[in-house]
Symmetry: C2
Subunit: 358 residues, 2 copies
């Protein structure tokens, strides 16, 4: 049977307590199947930095590089910072070290979620935001120039990464379309009206679009996109944008779903991929056993999808889908949800309910 090595970073705050039940679920799910998942839990994070001065040790990074997939929990702590005032974010290091250019952030408003939107009857919100995750403004991370009087950061967009990014977006739209999800639309989100770098970005997008004549390729300015995301979110299918814009819009997307507690993500490159919930480490509830594990479990479903497609193992894709359905059902039932979703379940109960619904 095919076996996959998964490096796990439990992270900070609530990280470990949502990781444990997620690994447990993955073990149970894979038990019934012909593939095996082998977990290797390694150190990384802000707590580690506080103790050792390192947030992502070379051995951890090396293991991640050699793994089939990387599962990352919540990372970072507000009060542990680098000398320059920024936070410890090994997830950002992994994105750049492993060239994980495609940040995949699905936004699905399913029954039972506490969306703040009054959605028109019959409108379904199910889109994927692809956030470029290695360059854009984040290219500047750690390289910002600061003196007494001013500070500068540099936004960089490369043709090479943009081409890979747009290919990824168009392929995803095609995949979704053939799965009956989405109408095959890719929207390039930029600020080409003001910045040459975004006119460049859009040009590359238009170039790639020519290779996908069966798909709809359109454009939106980032400001207008923020507006449309609240006014007609059902319009979107696959959106693709620069790193900083994607950071903002994906949290907005999570807001539309009712919160970060149900927002999974994947950062995908040509050879590696990290799967991680979008939420932070919520230290104020850490250790209480009441953290919401759903975003972490949903991130794990994205890992199953990705491994399955990459290694042509349909069983994993099937299990990813079934596990996602199970989470959806638990949320729809309104029972066994954690406090942030309006329920009163513990982390363990919520995870158990998912297994039962599987």
């Amino acid at each position: 049977s095919r076996s996959f090595d998964v490096v796990v970073f439990e992270g900070d705050g609530i990280g470990p307590e949502i990781t444990a039940p997620t690994l447990d679920i993955l073990r149970r799910v894979s038990e019934k199947s012909a593939y095996e998942l082998v977990f290797n839990t390694l150190p990384a994070g802000a707590n580690l930095y506080a103790k050792t001065g390192e947030s992502l040790p070379a051995t951890s990074l090396e293991a991640a590089r050699n793994a089939d997939a990387i599962l990352l929990s919540a990372m970072g702590l507000l009060n542990i910072r680098k000398p320059d005032g920024t936070e410890i974010s090994p997830q950002l290091d992994l994105r750049s070290e492993l060239d994980l250019f495609a940040g995949v952030r699905p936004v699905r408003i399913t029954p039972g979620l506490k969306t703040p939107l009054k959605l028109e009857e019959g409108k379904t919100v199910d889109f994927v935001l692809i956030r470029e995750s290695t360059e854009g403004l984040f290219y500047s991370r750690g390289n910002g120039e600061v003196n007494q009087d001013e500070a500068r950061e540099t936004l960089v967009i490369t043709r090479k990464t943009s081409e890979k990014l747009f290919k990824f977006a168009f392929n995803l739209a095609r995949q979704r379309q053939s799965a009956g999800q989405g109408e095959g639309r890719v929207t390039c989100v930029d600020k080409a009206n003001v910045f040459r770098a975004f006119a460049f970005f859009r040009d590359i997008f238009n170039g790639e679009a020519r290779h996908y004549p069966e798909l709809i390729a359109d454009h939106a300015y980032v400001d207008a996109t923020a507006l449309w995301m609240v006014q007609k979110p059902w319009f979107f299918d696959v959106m693709v944008t620069e790193n900083m814009f994607g950071d903002i819009l994906s949290d907005l997307g999570a807001g539309l779903m009712g919160g970060l507690g149900v927002a999974p993500s994947a950062d995908i490159g040509e050879n590696h991929a990290v799967f991680q919930p979008c939420h932070g480490s919520v230290p104020d509830i850490a250790g209480l056993g009441i953290a919401n594990p759903f975003a972490m479990i949903l991130s794990a479903t994205m890992m199953l999808d990705w491994l399955g497609i990459r290694h042509e193992q349909p069983e994993l894709v099937r299990d990813g889908g079934l596990l996602r359905d199970a989470v959806d059902r638990v949320i729809a039932s309104g029972r066994s949800t954690t406090r942030d979703l309006g329920g009163s379940s513990t982390t363990a109960d919520a995870a158990a309910a998912v297994l039962q619904a599987f």
Copy 2:
């Protein structure tokens, strides 16, 4: 009687047809008062650029510089661009030429607006987003470096502008508090967890905050802010942020109000100010007489406020408030609104209704 020179740029698309009734209303409002508004309409915009190669002639800029206030309508056209692919935006030129560092963008969800949010009973959304309008990423406008392989833009934050910006924000919060609006909270919106330039921005904010001990000064990351704006928008009072972030978040704010058709703005410096609706020139309905004039009229009310406070003429502040109330009443009535607000009125009818409600 005190007379004020107002330079008017009618702009492109629907610009002229929403300007005419707005000036008419301002004339009627001021007629009954002891002050006078003298309008001087001058050329600027994308159409002008197409004809002459200039979007903001030196004579127009000079007149704007000498005026007491500048009223700008919708500007720019998608199909008229500079050789580098960016659009014609004389509003951006004015912001930098006249050092209009404080972009003031109020978000008020008043009765009758088509907000996409299901707001909890008793929750009032009434906040002001202050978008720095001369630097940040927009410093790079026109200076982006592009070659075959990559493109770069530079984000710049200066201490000098940031200090003025934060002073402005704290003073506005104080003003709002003494007017019974808002609890005296200023939220600095940044990405200080990742970028040194934003840690710098936040430090300067904290420094200014010390001079306003009676106000609440807090911070939020820009991504989390986008999420909270849909989840608990009533929390915010005055928000202050970088130019690009402010561009995105203010459109999101407009989305929460039901659209750009009711989103006014002001760009304010130490010696000059521009008042302009947030929406674009909507060329597809230009000339039909059905454009929504409310954002333009609301922008004019901000002009009356600003002139009144600056020149210690309470009459203008009073009229600004009354005119804003009149627009609110027309919107609340659900009658005499334009198509984008769910009604079927013409621009002229909508404007007439405002005058009548005044």
